[in-house]
């Protein structure tokens, strides 16, 4: 969608975009470019000895079977987090959009968690799911489930997926609610006239109309799951037991910050970045095709 430009001249627009461009160049492009260049280097932490090694960092990564496992684990993790948090948010949004008493209160109570800081969320869940002292673990143990996510890969993976999804529910809820509210009343009315109710109405009318929101949220949630869940995983499991909950960004952190292997962590970031870009591109193409048809 392009608009006819309405003002002429170049000095004013240039002045308008200049602050943005300068900030972006100095604080994003320039450092990011350097970080990308690191992926072709081997250097020590202090940058005293650097050596150009071409694609060696990449070939070493893919020669490591553990890394390839981590890629698959990350894909599954992102898909699960995105699906669970979006499904839950959509469910809540559909009900909160109904004409029921107290929906304003419900909305408020579902929107505020958006403000919870990642650090706070992690501390909070640590209290709830700790194998021995957590409240939820106490309940699970009472129900006869041997709860010990510190030493049970499946449970550990479940925990990090659920907690990561939890953090993102209210974000998705807000967008789904906004999406639902933008569906014209007349459309819903017409559907009701045709006898579409409940689940059928949702499946045939509402969900297709929410498609743009859904696609947008898929991208956002995948990016969230890929990048911003690091704090949660680090606080809960540190990637363990074994490597059961290690995702790509956990490894980037481990190698870049703890391990100070800048070459390898930059190479990993490039891999991660390409993955997300590819995903986004696929989304856009799919979205475009749907709109055309």
């Amino acid at each position: 969608m392009e608009r006819r430009t309405i003002f002429s001249g170049w000095a004013l627009p240039a002045a308008l975009v200049l602050p943005q461009l300068l900030l972006t160049f100095f604080f994003f492009l320039w450092p990011a470019g350097q970080a990308l260049f690191y992926s072709l280097q081997r250097q020590d932490a202090f940058g005293i000895r650097t050596e150009f090694v071409g694609l060696e960092n990449f070939s070493e990564l893919f020669a490591d079977p553990l890394y390839v496992e981590t890629i698959w684990r990350t894909i599954i993790f992102c898909a699960l987090v995105a699906f669970i948090s979006m499904a839950l948010a959509l469910l809540l949004a559909v009900f909160a959009d109904r004409e029921i008493r107290g929906r304003g209160v419900y909305r408020t109570l579902l929107i505020w968690p958006y403000a919870i800081a990642p650090a706070v969320a992690a501390v909070l869940w640590l209290l709830l799911v700790h194998p021995q002292i957590g409240l939820i673990s106490g309940m699970l143990n009472a129900m006869g489930i041997a709860w010990d996510y510190k030493l049970n890969s499946a449970q550990a993976f479940t925990v990090v997926v659920l907690v990561s999804a939890w953090k993102q529910v209210s974000y998705n809820f807000i967008f789904f609610l906004a999406g639902l509210q933008s569906i014209p009343k007349s459309v819903m009315e017409a559907a009701r006239m045709d006898g579409a109710k409940g689940w059928r109405q949702f499946r045939t009318i509402v969900f297709p109309l929410l498609a743009p929101t859904t696609f947008f949220l898929i991208v956002v949630n995948m990016v969230y799951a890929a990048f911003d869940t690091f704090g949660t995983i680090e606080a809960l499991t540190r990637g363990g037991p074994g490597k059961a909950t290690e995702t790509l960004v956990v490894k980037v952190y481990r190698d870049g910050i703890v391990n100070l292997d800048l070459g390898s962590s930059s190479a990993q970031s490039v891999v991660l970045m390409l993955g997300v870009i590819a995903l986004t591109a696929v989304q856009f193409r799919y979205l475009g095709r749907r709109r055309d048809s």
């Binding site: 020590d44 932490a45 005293i48 000895r49 194998p131 021995q132 540190r238 363990g240 037991p241 074994g242």
Partner: protein
């Protein structure tokens, strides 16, 4: 609108005020980045303030920089930008990486030589000194907060199990028996757990039994070092932990210090963690407890020697335009914290061990160990026997990652996915790869 404006004004006023601290004219300003949170962070600040008050030449500004890992990242970023702090507190496992940093650091012996401020290595407790020294005995960094791993027992649980709480087991065979008794009498839900799995069961275990953790004197003599933790004595110990796990005697509480709440909550009867955990346990545990020396295995070595320290040391960092006066201020601070009175006060207030022999003696004459019985056990454990090549410390690059790899393999073994020997073989293989990668970057 009005409200917002006043808030803004108030916040900008609050910001402006501290931006202009009362800078005493003529004093050399030096900065110290530290990584201790909570009450211990306040103690670091206290020591710095006391130093500032004790002399007129220099003023230290202590700055909290997050965890040790975050502190290290900040320091590296700052050094690359020519803005490194004068001093940075770095955990003991970072020693290998810091030594490889060459021109970024001014080692303590160098600092002493250039500034003429006398810093004598021989005043420090050997177990502390060894970790931060070059193989020839020159100090690389400044010993600071030091602790060691200890065994902690729930005396009430011991009582319930019919064990003598005054006589905690001293051998691993004894620990297994005690754990069995605790389980049999249901004296505690968890007979035994451990914090810092790698530190306690590999690093300390190796040092005390005088077993090499890695070749080349645990890395002191060269970067081309290789792990040796798949030797039979280590495999035997890991197998013991696995067997105890299967028997319900040992519960894995998680990596690093994640297991600590299990003991404090009274669920675990025996645990292993740092001697520095004393203050927290003293405040929070609602039962009778005792600290004891780490158990050893007489079948592996009947004459165990010293354990190794944990904690951190202070490194002097370089920067362009850094003056001799600034270095001298750093050296004076090092000399200050090495004074017996200062060190003894630090030891007694924080629960860390003293780093100098004189501070230990001073604390003794002050009657500190009568007042708080057992607080000298870590010092005794650190100075037991003759310091050896295997017990002076570790000089391995990316040690944090090595610890992680070992923990990962332990977790997989405890889940029954592999045997003890297989776990250690795998840890050695993966660890050596990390060591080779480090060697290549450090050699350039």
């Amino acid at each position: 609108m009005m409200k917002r404006r006043t808030l803004l004004a108030a916040s900008s006023a609050a910001l402006a005020a501290p931006a202009l601290p009362a800078r005493a004219q003529g004093k050399t300003k030096i900065t110290f980045w530290y990584g201790l949170g909570g009450a211990l962070g306040e103690e670091v600040v206290r020591v710095c303030r006391n130093f500032n008050a004790a002399q007129n030449e220099a003023e230290i500004e202590p700055v909290f920089k997050g965890s040790y890992v975050e502190t290290l990242t900040s320091s590296i970023a700052a050094w690359r930008a020519g803005q490194a702090p004068h001093m940075v507190q770095m955990f003991e496992v970072g020693t290998g990486s810091m030594l490889a940093a060459g021109p970024a650091m001014k080692q303590t012996w160098q600092l002493s030589q250039e500034t003429g401020v006398k810093i004598d290595p021989s005043v420090y407790i050997p177990g502390v000194r060894g970790y931060y020294s070059l193989p020839d005995g020159r100090l690389a960094s400044m010993p600071f907060n030091s602790s060691t791993a200890m065994m902690w027992i729930n005396k009430d649980a011991f009582q319930r199990a019919g064990l003598d709480p005054a006589k905690p087991p001293t051998t691993w065979q004894g620990v297994v028996e005690a754990a069995r008794a605790i389980k049999a009498r249901n004296a505690a839900p968890i007979p035994m757990t451990t914090a810092w799995p790698t530190w306690v069961h590999f690093e300390q275990y190796g040092a005390m039994h005088n077993l090499p953790f890695a070749t080349k004197g645990n890395g002191f003599d060269g970067l081309d070092t290789e792990l040796r933790i798949n030797a039979p004595a280590y495999a035997k110990h890991l197998q013991r932990l696995l067997d105890m796990g299967k028997e319900g005697l040992f519960r894995w509480g998680g990596r690093d210090n994640a297991a600590e709440p299990l003991f404090v909550s009274g669920e675990a009867a025996i645990q292993f963690t740092s001697s520095a955990g004393r203050a927290a346990i003293a405040r929070d545990a609602k039962f009778n407890w005792a600290m004891a020396m780490l158990p050893t295995d007489p079948e592996v070595n009947p004459n165990p020697i010293n354990s190794v320290i944990g904690g951190a040391s202070i490194w002097t960092m370089t920067a362009p335009n850094r003056t001799m006066a600034e270095y001298r201020a750093v050296a004076n601070f090092f000399a200050y914290i090495s004074q017996p009175a200062v060190d003894a006060e630090w030891h007694q207030r924080t629960g860390y061990v003293p780093v100098t022999t004189a501070a230990y003696e001073l604390s003794k004459t002050q009657g500190f160990y009568e007042k708080t019985p057992g607080t000298d056990l870590p010092i005794l454990q650190l100075s037991r026997g003759q310091l050896s090549e295997n017990s002076r410390g570790f000089r391995l690059g990316r040690m944090v990652e090595l610890r992680n790899i070992i923990q990962e393999e332990m977790e997989r073994a405890l889940q029954g996915q592999q045997t003890a020997q297989a776990a250690l073989d795998s840890a050695v293989q993966r660890g050596n790869r990390v060591l080779r990668e480090f060697e290549r970057t450090a050699r350039g």
